[in-house]
Amino acid sequence: MYWNSWSEFIAMGGYGVYVWGSFIACSVAICMEGVLLAHARRQTMRQIARASMLANLARSQVAGLQVADQHKASQQEGAQ
């Protein structure tokens, strides 16, 4: 271990501001990258969820119309 005390470690031989400033800058950059990426992922998930919901809705509507058509056709057959 090179240092004798915590205060010596913090002072960094008079370069403390620059050394710890570098550490803070890099920590901020890494956190920002993580936050932005997590945000992009959440947004993408929401879009996919919406898209698949709409697709399901459209599918069920088409199915519903088909059922209605069949019903109508069978009614007409019955009337004849």
Partner: protein, 252 residues
Amino acid sequence: MTMDTPKNKVNWHLFHYAAPSTFYPLAGKAIPWLMTLAVVLAAIGLWIGMAVAPSDAQQGDGYRIIYLHVPSSWMAMFIYIVMAFWSVIHLVWKTRLSALMAQALAPTGAWMALMSLVTGALWGKPMWGTWWVWDARLTSMLLLFFLYLGFIALTRSIDDPDRSDQAGSLLAIVGVFNVPVIYFSVYWWNTLHQGASVSSKGSSMAGVMLAAMLLMSLAAWMYSIAMTLRRVRVLILQREASTRWVQELNIL
């Protein structure tokens, strides 16, 4: 597709993981391991560099900024080369995933370049007496940062995926010629920036300092790969949003 002949089998293996649907879960499995490795390597590297290594004869304890500055500078340059590599692959084989790899690499490269510039300025102020000089090394590094930003802006501004991939690939390949300029700038021009401490001819650094710097560089590698894989997974989801395999992922 038939896969009975040995020749087809080899092709199948080579391009198997190039399919986004296969690559997506594979990347997902690798990310926690890479991140753990990055944290462990950085912890050991920082312990050696910040607690064990002695101060520098000329630069006192201010030199310790190199444990952040050198790995981020190396990564910024290296990531651009990898980006250009995937761009060439994309233009030659038209593989979808390689263009996405280039686009996933760019933001991490930009962050690395920014970290390199900021830590460099914080080192320059006490050592040179100035935050910034327009010398060859610093200017070419700033250009690299802008190349990353330009690549990100270009690929995001074009809506058509094919055209976006192609334009991005071209820009990445054109810009890669800046990387050797950065690297050799300290030899080609008379710059304020010091020469390389570590080169193919060996190292001029003390063993402990070198060990810490290499550990930090390895940590930066693992971090960059993990972040790139995380980002490429998001890009894959965006591109393949309407496909069946994405809809069946059950991510809701």
